[in-house]
């Protein structure tokens, strides 16, 4: 990290661990297609399979359950489109998902509704950003047989709120409905045990936990068979085709291995930094509101995300002012067109559009230090004052 800048956007992507960089650099120097039959191919294959075994072990899964993809978006698409296509029939067209899913899940679902005749049922969330199990229960029981797939993220990427995955699986499992969870934000910050969760499929990605961008995995039970999205050589269990990226996968495994090994200790350290951060913010800006679940812990909130509403300010303006002061934060999930939209997550939680636009996400990670928190608190008074002034010139109507 540039010493002159404080990076508080680890939920967007986190720096690669030096060990992962080292493994990746080494593997990039190797020739060999893991599907080839000669010695170089076998050597590459060995790296891929050892990586798969390590990742499986760290996620509480079997190696054959790990299907490498290009990242979280592809894994989510494979799970949702694949399971919908594999299980749909004239009598079974429904997809259940939560209102706070990431666009990488939300958009495949709405695409299926628009183009493939899927009927979609959204599970609402409460003010903390946690799905309402009663509503989900009612939605399932309304007709369990017409559900193709049910999906609920493990932890929300904007709020950090952890979802009641155990209960969701219980609701669906008794009817044999496949359950998927996007665990991209949770991986590395809370313990994940795929077998123990009894999920049918789970998405993880490398770059959120110290690995490279461009590789992720759908962890999926052997007896669950989504229709593939990519057809070709069938490299990944015939569910996903394309020559596997040996160096990416090796670095992914290294990063996941280290991150899981350090998880408990890092979670404590990061939670303490976060506490200092929110204490400081609410001291400097007394009307600031920290959103989501106030409690720490693996059933409540990720340790690394602080989502804060600053009344009378626009998140966009604060982001820009922070950026100019060397502090890098986010207004939520980055949007494709660069046109700031109020977050669908906040709207789903019951925020009005003004409050939704007036919020920032601070997200910490393995490289975060006290100095990063100090810098935020040092520049916050001036940033806040200017953002408030800028909001006023808009006439206070938005």
């Amino acid at each position: 990290m540039d010493a002159a800048r404080s990076y508080l956007d680890h939920a967007a992507t986190t720096p690669m661990l030096p060990e992962a960089v080292e493994v990746m650099s080494r593997e990039l120097g190797r020739v060999g297609n893991a599907s080839s039959l000669h010695a170089s191919g076998r050597a590459a294959r060995r790296v891929v399979e050892e990586s798969r075994e390590l990742i499986a072990e760290r996620l509480g899964a079997r190696p054959s359950e790990v299907v490498f993809t290009s990242g979280g978006t592809e894994a989510n698409n494979l799970a949702i489109k694949g399971l919908f296509w594999a299980r749909r029939s004239p009598e079974r067209q429904r997809i259940l998902f939560s209102s706070i899913e990431h666009h990488a899940l939300l958009d495949p679902v709405t695409w299926l509704a628009a183009h493939e005749g899927a009927r979609i049922d959204v599970t609402p969330v409460d003010r903390q950003g946690r799905i309402q199990l009663d509503a989900l229960h009612a939605s399932v029981e309304q007709n369990p047989d017409d559900i193709t797939v049910l999906t609920t993220m493990w932890a929300n990427n904007e709020m950090g709120t952890i979802q009641p995955i155990r209960e969701v699986v219980e609701l669906a499992g008794r009817h044999g409905i496949p359950v998927h969870s996007d665990a991209v934000q949770a991986a590395g910050y809370v313990p994940l045990d795929f077998a123990g969760s009894e999920l049918d499929a789970m998405t993880v990605t490398a770059h959120k936990l110290g690995g490279p961008v461009g590789v992720g995995a759908l962890v999926i039970k052997r007896d669950v068979a989504p229709t593939p999205l990519l057809h070709g050589g069938g490299q990944e269990r015939d569910l996903r085709s394309g020559t596997v990226g040996v160096a990416l996968i090796a670095a992914f495994a290294t990063a996941l291995d280290l991150t899981v090994a350090r998880q408990a200790e890092q979670a404590d350290r990061i939670e303490r930094l976060r506490q200092r951060l929110v204490d400081g913010i609410t001291r400097i800006v007394p009307d600031a509101v920290v959103n989501g679940d106030p409690h720490a812990g693996q059933d409540h909130r990720l340790p690394n995300i602080a989502h804060v509403t600053f009344p009378g300010c626009e998140g966009d303006a604060m982001l820009m002012l922070f950026d100019a002061q060397g502090v890098e934060v986010s207004t939520g999930s980055a949007c494709a067109a660069g046109v700031p939209q109020p977050s669908h997550v906040l709207l789903a939680m019951g925020f009005d559009e003004v409050a939704a636009r007036g919020s920032l996400r601070f997200s910490l990670g393995h490289s975060s230090t006290d100095a990063d928190v100090d810098r935020v608190l040092e520049v916050l008074p001036a940033v806040h004052e200017r953002a408030r002034a800028a909001r006023l010139v808009r006439g206070g109507t938005r």
């Binding site: 700031p340 002034a389 808009r394």
Partner: protein
């Protein structure tokens, strides 16, 4: 100075931003998102509202090495520019939304936000020149390249706004600017110019208006009141328009006919010969002055539409709200709603919005 460079995604604003950096300013690039639904606007390389344009602007800012953000001004744009455009056409006038956008968005909403955020000025890629007079006031002059000159659409800016504006391109021709963009490695160097109204994707103003306003049937009549045909919306016509009238029967004298008048309530559109379009007196409302308001009658020139000719004129301030403009050379095709921009030589003095015209022929008959 700390400067916001408004970057449309086109070549001009990109070079303007680069020049502002070179002049020693601390520059931040901003693309204005003006559409409520960015996907609904034009998707080509022309205009300033599409996702491609935002991407081009971002790419240019990265190449120049300045921070870049998208500012959502879609509500302000819808309220101040699009609504006004529709209302003006509904009232039988012909608005110029670019002036309106400069007056209400770029040098108002954007400038105000910039100032509140700690910036000192807004830079754009408009072709106009700013000069500091001996007394410290900022004068706005036509661009050196009269073919590209955009001082007409900036004629609504007040001294306060001019003090906070930078137009780094006013002293150059478009060719020079394009060559410079190329030299700086800006990908937008060969992007075509935009000409049409940015929020009307296909350039079909009449089609866009009829979609917004629905059918409003009325009649096209000649000056004797004879009905020539029905039409389904007076907003499809502009004073001075000749093409697309589809009158069927020729005039008695066989000469082409032009739209002379639009009566918004009945929707009656009057057509007649070109001579009857000639006006020598205008009345304007909403006068705006680049400096102090004049205290006596001005002997000056006026420009009555974008890229229009200059006319020698005498401008009298009737009161705070109204101007009378006597044209020494008559003009034709003058539509209420258009701006009358007043020049002293190359210097912009101010402007007014044309509210009424007096036709020579009508006055004499």
């Amino acid at each position: 100075m700390r400067v916001i460079a408004a970057m449309s995604g086109g070549v001009d604003s990109a070079v303007a931003a680069a020049r502002a950096v070179e002049a020693g300013h601390d520059v931040t690039g901003v693309h204005l998102a003006l559409s409520r639904n960015p996907r609904s606007y034009r998707s080509g390389a022309r205009g300033c509202c599409s996702i491609e344009d935002a991407g081009d602007a971002r790419r240019a800012a990265d190449a120049i090495g300045i921070p870049f953000y998208v500012w959502d001004m879609s509500d302000e744009f819808a309220d101040e520019v699009v609504e006004d455009f529709i209302a003006e056409y509904t009232a039988g006038r012909t608005p110029n939304p670019c002036l309106r956008c400069n007056e209400k968005i770029k040098f108002a909403a954007v400038l105000d936000r910039a100032l509140a955020l700690g910036f000192d000025a807004v830079a754009t890629g408009h072709y106009a020149q700013l000069r500091t007079a001996a007394d410290g006031t900022i004068e706005m002059h036509r661009a050196l390249d009269h073919g590209k000159d955009q001082s007409y659409v900036l004629g609504v800016l007040t001294q306060e706004q001019l003090q906070r504006s930078l137009f780094p391109l006013g002293g150059d021709t478009k060719d020079v600017v394009r060559a410079e963009a190329e030299r700086r490695g800006l990908q937008v160097a060969h992007k075509p110019d935009s000409h049409d109204i940015c929020f009307i994707a296909d350039g079909d103003n009449a089609g866009w208006l009829s979609e917004k306003l629905g059918p409003k049937p009325g009649r096209i009549v000649d000056e004797d009141g004879r009905v020539l045909r029905e039409h389904d919306g007076a907003y499809q016509f502009t004073i001075g328009q000749r093409r697309g009238l589809r009158l069927g029967v020729p005039a008695d004298d066989g000469k082409p006919r032009f739209v002379l008048d639009i009566e918004p309530v009945s929707g009656t559109v009057t057509v007649g010969p070109r001579e009857h379009l000639l006006v020598d007196t205008l009345e304007c409302v909403r006068p705006l002055w680049c400096g102090a308001a004049p205290t006596e009658t001005l002997e000056c020139t006026v420009q009555l539409r974008a890229h229009g000719a200059e006319h020698r004129a005498r401008v009298t301030v009737l009161d705070d709200e109204r101007l009378r403009v006597d044209l020494l050379d008559p003009a034709d095709g003058i539509a209420p709603g258009q701006a009358c921009v007043i020049y002293d030589g190359t210097r912009v003095v101010g402007s007014g919005t044309i509210s009424r015209t007096e036709r020579i022929a009508a006055a004499r008959s």
